[in-house]
């Protein structure tokens, strides 16, 4: 590969400069430290030094050229032992510059700067402490405006964002034209009530996070909802049989006790694998199609809720899912879950059946594309073979992110789920 000689920046703010003079000719042998050219701005002159050995095979920008953008290729050097001729014939990478041409993309380096979470995109300038606090609170740095030098995000910006939610500060990401709805100031809200008619409980960080994330989700995700009823008769008897077969320890305690919810988690995971187009995450540039079904399960804890993720739930047996959920629930209540245990996922289950809720719809928890709201399993009269019979029915509502999952796709996912629920032996395969 030939090595590009780039227009250097004499200062961090320099955007372009003049190529005053070439001190080497095409064909000259170059060794590290040789001065190749002189660059000048209105403030300073700087020498461009070679850092590699080779031959200056091509001068791309001739001397005396004014206003050369920083990082433009001004010349080419062959690498060590490289054939100069093959390089010289390489088409010039320099762009046509005319006044009314659209601004060219900056000459991106081969390796894009790494952002802290490893995602691509423009580098976000943030202090080490700000990065760490944001990461540990699950806060996206891109949603924060920095107040440090040159707009760098510092500790106080992250803390302010955690306290007030990023909507309070202008979003840096202009791609998402989310217009924050005006929220009435707290004072106005309080005025609705007699001063001593309420007690004021300050928000903790979990409450603030829930508020921020759900406002964001309901503002940015175009939700639609699909509802279906499933017959649980077969599942209930299978569950009974499985639990009855559980080996017991000395105290007579069974090794596992599978809940209806464990079946639902497994059924949703398998349904996502059967309908892989629905096992996705929306991003602005691409659809992320997941290889496994990671299912979040909403767990109510004092003061809020958290959604630990059963990873690759389609690969796990019901008893494994069951024991994982028990572990998650107890650690969630102790607020001992690690961020990696509740971040991510492609879908989720929110189950309010135990409280007698018949059916409801849930707000999608980004980056997931769907969430399944599960109501109570209850005996209902159904028509079977022309006759009224009593069966155990369950109503579920699937919320879908319309950017990622269209109506038919969502309906197929729900049908696959219902099929697994009603023929639960399919989950044991």
């Amino acid at each position: 590969m030939p090595i590009d000689i780039l227009m250097p920046a004499l200062s961090p703010t320099m955007e372009k400069g003049n190529l005053a003079r070439w001190l080497k000719k095409e064909g000259d042998k170059i060794k590290p430290g040789d001065v190749l050219a002189e660059i000048e701005t209105d403030k300073a002159t700087m020498e461009v030094e070679a850092v590699v050995e080779g031959v200056l095979v091509k001068i791309v920008v001739p001397e005396g050229t004014a206003d050369v953008p920083v990082d433009d290729v001004i010349g080419l050097i062959t690498g060590e032992g490289e054939d100069a001729k093959s390089v010289a014939s390489r088409p010039s990478p320099v762009r046509e510059k005319t006044l009314d041409a659209p601004p060219a993309a900056p000459n991106t380096p081969a390796v894009a700067p790494r952002t802290p979470n490893g995602e691509s995109g423009p580098r976000i300038f943030a202090s080490p402490l700000a990065r760490r606090i944001a990461m540990e609170s699950g806060l996206d740095l891109a949603s924060i405006t920095g107040s440090g030098p040159h707009g760098r995000i510092i500790e106080r910006d992250v803390k302010a964002a955690l306290a007030h939610g990023p909507a309070a500060v202008p979003a840096q990401d202009t791609k998402a034209p989310s217009v924050p709805l005006p929220t009435p100031p707290d004072e106005l809200t309080r005025k609705n009530f007699a001063p001593d008619s309420f007690e004021e409980i300050p928000h903790d960080s979990m409450r603030k996070t829930i508020a921020r994330r759900l406002v964001e989700a309901s503002r940015t995700i175009p939700h639609f909802y699909l509802t279906a009823d499933g017959n649980l008769d077969a599942l209930m008897s299978l569950r009974e049989a499985i639990n009855a077969a559980a080996p017991k320890d000395k105290e007579g305690k069974p090794a596992y006790k599978i809940s209806v919810n464990d079946f639902i988690v497994k059924a949703l995971a398998l349904a996502l694998i059967r309908i892989p187009d629905a096992n996705v995450t929306w991003t602005e540039t691409a659809m992320l199609k997941h290889k496994h079904a990671d299912i979040g399960v909403a767990v109510a804890i004092p003061g809020g809720l958290i959604t630990p993720i059963v990873r690759a739930a389609e690969t796990k047996s019901l008893s494994v899912i069951s024991s994982e959920m028990k572990d998650f629930s107890s650690r969630a209540r102790a607020r001992k879950l690690r961020p990696e245990e509740y971040q991510g996922g492609s879908s989720a289950v929110s189950n309010l059946g135990m409280f007698g809720t018949k059916s409801f719809s849930a707000i999608i928890n980004p980056p997931q594309a769907t969430i399944l709201a599960v109501g109570a399993a209850e005996p209902r009269v159904v028509v079977k073979g022309g006759a009224s019979v009593v069966a155990t029915l369950l109503s579920v509502t699937l919320s879908c992110d319309h950017r990622a999952v269209d109506g038919v796709l969502g309906a197929k996912l729900l049908a696959a789920f219902k099929d697994l629920l009603e023929q639960p032996a399919g989950m044991l395969a």
Binding site: S127, P128, L129, R132, E136, I154, E155
Partner: protein
């Protein structure tokens, strides 16, 4: 009357003259009123001349230990107090002259005299009645004289002066303040130092090295009261090893002047009294702001206990009047004053300077061993509710320290266990005053332990101990 100044600064100390230069850089028509010496106490009677004295003491100390390094000194090693003092004054004079040059270069007017603010926007300057400290540095050339001067913005940067302990009033002969302690005719055989802050401890260290019997009396239960308790204890051990006697939780109730000696009545926390006799006594019980006789009370400027109340940008409660440096409150340090001066002027310009962050102000004491710190002490961090991770690294584990023959010292780091934020760093030992800036920059960049651990520290240097201390906080220390 001449065109009004954009900014007029009362006081040409490190706060005032730096503010003036920054103001001039920003295009303001600027003046500084000074009654005695450009560069203030810092440069004329504080930081700088004491560093010159301590350098003499340090070299004297090395000469006395020359044989430890395989060197031979033939003849008697001694000193000439007059020449030691003369060198210190010459250092001060050189820098004093430099400040005059810098102000002139930046086209800042220097008005010589005592200032009084008649009303916002108007300052009366009269000839100073305060007798100048001897020997004075020369009055700069090209100055303006007494008169009425108009200014859109007035910055009070009048500094501070030694606090007087009742019953221990300095007389300039037997009972000294730092002024007299800096220009002694001879080094006393014995000395009582009242107060163990930076000023007291530096003089104690200087005079002890020069052979004086030194007793330090501290009212609080810890010497160097602003420092981390562990560092203060470490320093105390070494001071005592050098022969400095230290009395803590002890007050001086009265000092009686005898012919060529002082008898100090002291009382400890249990009420036990005792009389100490020494040739001289240095009163170093802190400093107090110069907020009087400026006309501030008449204008309604808020003053609390000798300190002008100002916000993080130097603004007082009266528009157009600002206060920076010692007179605007502790910590009373030159670098804090300079920084406040710059912030204040930039805020007047309408720039967006960061407000003063007092927890980021480093502190240095140039005794032997040197003391340097920044941020929270361990006790303060815990008091603020931080769960802390502490790292410690002793000089004895550092190759460069051993090679220098300076195996005594400690680098202590304090991290927030939750976020890894560096909360504070505290050091005692050789050259730590030059090391602390590494931690200061790190803290200002909001470092966590990660950046310190990942940084490569050059070998062999004393700075490696900063690395090791951070490693120790995370149980990764290598050379321990």
């Amino acid at each position: 009357m001449a065109e009004p100044y954009d900014i007029l600064i009362i006081g040409g100390g490190p706060g005032g003259y730096v503010a003036a230069i920054r103001a001039a850089q920003l295009g303001f028509k600027t003046a500084v009123v000074e009654r005695e010496h450009l560069g203030g106490i810092c440069l004329n009677w504080g930081c700088i001349p004491t560093k010159a004295l301590l350098r003499s003491a340090e070299i004297f100390h090395y000469l006395n230990h020359a044989k430890d390094y395989g060197l031979k000194v033939d003849g008697k090693i001694g000193f000439d107090p007059a020449v030691v003092v003369k060198r210190s004054r010459a250092v001060s004079a050189q820098l004093n002259n430099g400040v005059g040059f810098l102000l002139k270069k930046n086209k800042v007017d220097v008005i010589w005299g005592e200032a009084r603010i008649a009303k916002p926007g108007e300052v009366l300057v009269s000839t100073s009645k305060k007798p100048a400290m001897q020997p004075p540095n020369p009055v700069p050339k090209g100055i303006l004289g007494p008169g009425t001067y108009l200014a859109k913005n007035i910055i009070v940067a009048t500094g501070a002066r030694p606090r007087v302990i009742p019953g221990v009033e300095p007389d300039g002969k037997l009972i000294w303040t730092y002024f007299e302690a800096m220009v002694p005719e001879k080094f006393p055989k014995s000395l009582i130092v009242v107060g163990s802050g930076a000023i007291g401890i530096e003089f104690a260290s200087f005079y002890r090295t020069m052979g004086t019997q030194v007793i330090v009396v501290e009212i609080l239960p810890q010497i160097l009261p602003a420092e981390d308790v562990e560092i203060a204890a470490h320093a105390r051990k070494h001071f005592e090893k050098q022969g400095i006697e230290i009395l803590i939780s002890t007050t001086v109730t009265r000092a009686e002047k005898k012919p060529d000696c002082v008898v100090a009545a002291i009382e400890d926390s249990r009420g036990a009294t005792q009389a100490l006799e020494a040739e001289r006594l240095i009163s170093a019980a802190g400093v107090t702001g110069n907020a009087e006789n400026l006309g501030l009370e008449t204008l309604g400027v808020k003053i609390e206990r000798g300190i002008i109340v100002a916000d993080g940008m130097g603004r007082t409660n009266v528009p157009g009047i600002y206060a920076i440096g010692d007179v605007a409150g502790p910590p009373m340090l030159a670098h804090k004053a300079e920084h406040e001066g710059v912030i204040c002027v930039e805020a007047i310009k309408g720039l967006d300077p960061h407000p003063m962050e007092k927890t980021m102000i480093p502190s240095c004491t140039y005794c032997n061993p040197q003391i340097a710190s920044v941020g929270l002490t361990e006790a303060k961090a815990k008091e603020l509710g931080f769960e802390v991770r502490i790292g410690r690294f002793p000089f004895i584990g550092n190759g460069k320290a051993i090679a220098l023959g300076e195996p005594e010292g400690l680098v202590k780091t304090i991290f927030d266990a939750k976020t890894g934020k560096l909360l504070g760093a505290h050091m005692a030992g050789a050259e730590v005053t030059e090391l602390i800036q590494g931690f200061v920059i790190a803290m200002n960049c909001e470092t966590t332990e990660g950046e310190l651990i990942n940084s490569i520290f050059p070998h062999p240097t004393l700075s490696e101990m900063m690395h090791e201390s951070a490693l120790d906080a995370y149980r990764r220390v290598i050379h321990l």
